[in-house]
Amino acid sequence: MLLKEEIVARNNVTVVGSGDKTLMLAHGFGCDQQVWQHLIPYLEKDYTLVLFDYVGSGKSQISSFSESRYRTLEGYAKDVSEICQALNLDQVHFMGHSVSGMIGLLASIDHPELFASHLMLCPSPCFLDAPPDYYGGFERADLEELLDLMDRNYIGWADYLAPLVMGPESAELLIGELADSFCSTDPVVAKIFAKATFFSDYRHKLAEAKHPAVILQSERDTLANPKVGRYMHAHMPGSTLRLLASEGHCLHMTQPELVAQEVNAWLRY
């Protein structure tokens, strides 16, 4: 078991605001905790906000990254419950954006004692289509293209080639030396998170939900379309579906006020 300080440093945990209720804000794929900066001003007066970066993202300690742990969402869910335990949190209201909605659900199934409820912002349990019952919005080829585009957008070829030349033993060392910057610059780490996010199917876990949850569904969202929201609501006991008059997948950035209203409505139930 890691010490509190070790977990805080590993996941770059920050706590802001004050309030009896604890709201944990979890970023999605491709981002880090800075995505919450527009929402924080609306919430910090009323809640204790716990922010963090998943290992491999943002200013987390990338040296803690291991492919075996983080190639499935369960690894990221462990980050969440370990942070809660390290900070001695319980009754946590967990707000997860996109894939983090599912990560939070997985953490709360394993450690129900830590959580009170879920606020799922544009969540999806599966991005792939599984006709005729389920339309996640993407075909396998779309997601293969995403991985290809990630490769093409990655410019650090020297870093990419160095482990190859230096041998597998030095790969971990190199990962540790890569710069911590916005949206993890390490293509290997980013691709592992991408695969865990976009190629997984956690629909079967919805039925195991142990806490009330509100699904904040954007009216127009390619990544998590309204059908996905309806599916989740139908399969997750204790869930509430809120269809918001909004566009896009990053409501917390584009419409923070709207999201804050929904948070307040949910937490003052």
């Binding site: 491709g30 995505v35 993407f138 293209e145 995403l146 585009l149 957008n153 070829w157 390619t222 997948h249």
Partner: protein, 576 residues
């Protein structure tokens, strides 16, 4: 008129586009129209996502959008544009948000060139990967047998032992050394030797499981890594079967060859933490035990053996140091004609002046020197020292034979004859027949034919040869048949019991008879009393050596003894 009025965005060879905060396209220039195949009319008011592939939409939501909100701009993102014909085109897009109008301004250009560069880099990376993997293979593989080499084995062992700390795996490590491989190389050439090694590699591979590792350690040595938990009996049984497979008949280039292997094996984990290198040494030591025990077999390493080997090693180091600091001395025991009293010569016997334990007899330290190079070094020193003494005595007017004991291992050393002749060349005035080599009949002699030829060569040089402790070995008679020696030395055990045991007396008579039949001298060892000497003389053995005549003595005491001996009437017992 200014230039800004002359040109519109439609004139630029780059795509320009404006979208609002609901992703709707508010403006697009000619380039976009031409590039996408959509007319401007169709594009205006349309969702930006019409132009983006699904993957690009994800890039937009997960990377581009958050970056724009945070930083106000996002540069050079590689996306895929979907054209009116549903084909995709590579583009590089840069975007900037305009806070006042809540719009996003885009510049879009073709990414064909950078894509080409990307493909080339990918190809280069692939080639590099292949090259690196080829280099790894070459550096890890023994080219002759195709087996992993020593470096690969060491790496593998390190990995496995590290793994063991995590998940408690167990294994056995065997060291294989071929028996008689050098002879094959010497007699049939290296190309045959190489073929033998390839055959051995194949035989090992085909008789082991796929998750066992076989490595060529070097020369004719192989190391086998056997995965799994083994009991002593199980590992011994499986490897004995393997030894059997290796010793099956073998023909290379029509030449039938006899091959076998000695194996040592050690088990892991052990009670004490061991290093990978130590594990290999353990198996190697056990292999050496298998060689000593007669080859073509398996020997298990055990810790007690290691302790005794360590002890032997420290004894050897002490003996090396003793040799270097001149702590050895030769004592001489006279041989006389018991009838006439004539002094024939002396046998040189080694003593060690141990700095703490005092004078030590050879039985206390020679065993540690058996089959060692230190033993050979000491043997050389004995020969040189005895020859030197012989010369000194001759210069003092004392004409004697001096004999030294020669160890079987030393005798079989390839340089023995050369060394001996070089040493003898240092004493040109010395008649060679004054020097005698005593060969212990019981000493372990592996290649009897070779030893015969060495001894015969010594005789041709003029050196006398005697067979020591005669009668105690197993092949005394055949020795006498094939080897011409000058002297037989009757073992002290027969002499000791001759007065009481009729069996020993009979053997003694027989040996004296053989000596006469083969025309050699006979010397009785262990003459301890007057009665012994008298009976030996009666039996026809006049030459004797033993406490009754004199104990071994330092060289400087010999002349005084000889003078005293000459003054006395023999046999002395009549006076005592």
């Amino acid at each position: 008129m200014t230039a800004s009025n002359l040109f519109s965005p439609d004139d630029f060879p780059v795509g320009c586009m404006v979208t609002d905060n609901k992703r709707r396209i508010l403006y697009s220039n000619h380039f976009i129209e031409a590039y996408s195949g959509y007319s401007t009319d169709n594009l205006l008011g349309a969702d930006l996502f019409v132009l983006l592939s699904k993957a690009s939409q994800i890039m937009f939501e997960t990377y581009l959008m958050p970056t724009l909100v945070r930083e106000g701009r996002c540069d050079e993102i590689r996306l895929s544009l979907v054209n009116a014909l549903d084909g995709t085109l590579p583009i590089v897009a840069s975007a900037q948000s305009d806070d006042a109008s809540e719009c996003i301004l885009w510049s879009i250009s073709s990414a064909n060139r950078s894509d080409q560069l990307f493909e080339e880099l990918t190809e280069t990376k692939k080639l590099l990967e292949q090259k690196v993997s080829l280099l790894r293979t070459l550096s890890d593989t023994d080219p002759l047998t195709g087996l992993p080499n020593r470096a690969a084995l060491t790496h593998y062992l390190d990995q496995k032992m590290l793994e063991r700390k995590r998940n408690g795996m167990a294994f056995a490590l065997a060291f294989v050394d071929l028996d008689g491989f050098k002879e094959i190389n010497d007699h049939h050439g290296h190309h045959v030797g190489d073929r033998v090694l390839q055959t051995v590699a194949k035989r090992l591979a085909s008789n082991l499981r796929s998750d066992d590792l076989i490595a060529r350690f070097g020369g004719d040595e192989f190391v086998i890594f056997l995965n799994g938990q083994f009991s002593h009996s199980l590992v011994e049984e499986s490897l004995t079967r393997l030894v059997g497979k290796l010793s099956e008949p073998l023909t290379v280039d029509g030449v039938p060859l006899h091959l076998s292997a000695s194996m040592g094996v050690t088990l892991y984990p052990q009670a004490k933490e061991v290093e990978p290198g130590q594990l290999i040494r353990q198996a190697d030591q056990a292999m050496y035990q298998a060689k000593l025990a007669g080859k073509n077999q398996v020997c298990l390493f055990n810790i007690d053996n290691e302790a005794s080997l360590k002890e032997r090693y420290s004894e050897l180091s002490a003996l090396q140091a003793a040799l270097a600091s001149n702590q050895f001395e030769l004592y001489y025991q006279p041989k006389v004609n018991m009838r006439t009293g004539e002094i024939l010569g002396a046998e040189a016997l080694i003593r060690w002046h141990h700095p703490e334990e005092g004078l030590k007899a050879p039985a206390s330290f020679l065993p540690a020197l058996r089959n060692t190079t230190t033993g050979i070094a000491l043997g050389r020193w004995v020969i040189a020292c005895a020859l030197n003494q012989l010369q000194t005595w001759r210069e003092q007017g004392l004409d004697l034979h001096v004999s030294v004991n020669i160890d079987g291992y030393h005798l079989q050393h390839p340089n023995f004859l050369h060394d001996l002749s070089v040493t003898l060349a240092g004493f040109p005035a010395l008649p060679k027949q004054r020097f005698e080599l005593e060969v212990l009949e019981t000493s372990t002699i592996e290649d009897i034919g070779h030893v015969y030829s060495v001894l015969n060569a010594c005789r041709r040089m003029g050196i006398r040869i005697s067979l020591d402790d005669f009668g105690t070995g197993y092949s005394s008679l055949s020795h006498l048949r094939d080897l011409s020696v000058d002297t037989l030395k009757i073992d002290r055990s027969f002499v000791k019991n001759m007065l009481t045991s009729s069996g020993d007396l009979a053997i003694l008579k027989g040996v004296i008879g053989f000596a006469s039949a083969f025309g050699c001298d006979v010397v009785a060892e262990g003459v301890e009393t007057f009665q012994h000497s008298q009976q030996l003389i009666e039996l026809g053995c006049e030459f004797g050596q033993g406490y009754y005549i004199a104990r071994p003595m330092p060289a400087h005491a010999f002349q005084a003894w000889a003078a005293a001996w000459a003054r006395e009437e023999f046999p002395r017992s009549t006076q005592t």
